[in-house]
Each structure stands twice: as structure tokens, then as C-alpha cells.
Symmetry: C2
Subunit: 109 residues, 2 copies
């Protein structure tokens, strides 16, 4: 089985994993936003929050690309960042799981 072919079952698992990672990342951004707003005192703080949100949104928009041709790469980034757990991948072919983990390892080099 190649990492290019996604069976119907794998597509379901991938979609669930993708959505789970997205939910975790949104929750993390919300938590950080609440923390920043809690400590906000000046106009500078306010505009830094705007910078923070814009950067997070740009990254999220770019990163969450659900094309099967990109999914190994997307998953490897999300796994490396801690938003995708290895358990989310259970049921995918071993070579896909390996590819996600291996590509993720490259970010650490």
C-alpha cells in the first residue's frame, strides 16, 4: 500500500484525525487569546493581539489543506506541533503512519 492511495476507511480516519487536530489547535489559540486579553493594558497590547490572531489565522488557513496529495505532509506538521496524536492515526496503513512520523522528525533536525 502506498502513501498515495487512501482507502475509504482511511479517508474516514484521516478526516476525523484532521478535524480533531483542527479542534485542538483552535482550542489552543482560544486559550492563548483569553490569556492575552486577560493581561491586556495598553494599545500596544491590543495591536499585538491583532498581530497574534492574524498570524495564527494565516498559518491555520495555510496548514489545514485537506488534499490527499498533501495530507502526509499536513499530518506530519500537525503531529510535530502536538495537535495530531499518534492515536488519531490508528487504522491508517503502517507506511502512512511511518511517513507522518518520519517527515515530522525532519523538523527536529
Amino acid at each position: 500500500m502506498s502513501t498515495d492511495h487512501w482507502s475509504a476507511t482511511e479517508k474516514k480516519i484521516a478526516r476525523r484525525a484532521f478535524d480533531a487536530a483542527y479542534g485542538r489547535e483552535i482550542a489552543a489559540i482560544m486559550e492563548e487569546l483569553r490569556r492575552k486579553v486577560g493581561g491586556m493594558k495598553s494599545a500596544k497590547d491590543l495591536w499585538q493581539i491583532e498581530d497574534f490572531l492574524r498570524e495564527r489565522r494565516d498559518e491555520v488557513d495555510w496548514k489545514y489543506d485537506y488534499r490527499y496529495s498533501q495530507l502526509i505532509y499536513v499530518f506530519s506538521i500537525l503531529h510535530h506541533q502536538g495537535f495530531l496524536l499518534e492515536a488519531d492515526l490508528a487504522g491508517l496503513s503502517a507506511d502512512k503512519i511511518e511517513a507522518v512520523k518520519h517527515t515530522g522528525d525532519c523538523f527536529r533536525r
Copy 2:
């Protein structure tokens, strides 16, 4: 006295009025941000907060233009929006105060 000429005293008053309006507007944006973040539940809410902050920042950046050639216009907008109070203008020439109020009236038509 024309609305084009600003005496040294008027420049001090104008700067203080400008800064006071800016402070009030920033405080209002912060209050609205706290309210929105308090009620935030979904990714949609999160990105609407980003939209809100970006739009407010764009408007603030555009609006707070401290060039004496623009100041009557800037003050009239701020007065119309409630961020600049008539009391802030005390000490400016009568024609400047009238121009600020009159130009502000135009927004209501």
C-alpha cells in the same frame, strides 16, 4: 483667526484632545474585545474576533491622522463618534470649534 492656523496654545490643546479621543477609542475596543472573547465558543467566533480587530485597527490607523491640515476633519469624525468631547476642544478658536461641530453634523444628514 482661520481654521488653518494653529497657535502654540491651540496645538497643545489639539494634541491633548487627540490623545484623549485615542485613549477613549482604544478603551472602547478593549471593552468590546473582552466581551467578544468572553462569549467565544467556536472557530467561527474566533475568526470573527480577528475580523473585528483588523477592521478596528485599519480604521484607527486611517483616522488618527495628526496633520494640522486634516485635524478639523479628524476631530469632526471623532466628535461625531463620541470619542472626542466638546470639552476637549475648549481653548480652540470659536471658528475651529464650529467647524468641528458643523462638519460632524454633515455625517448625520
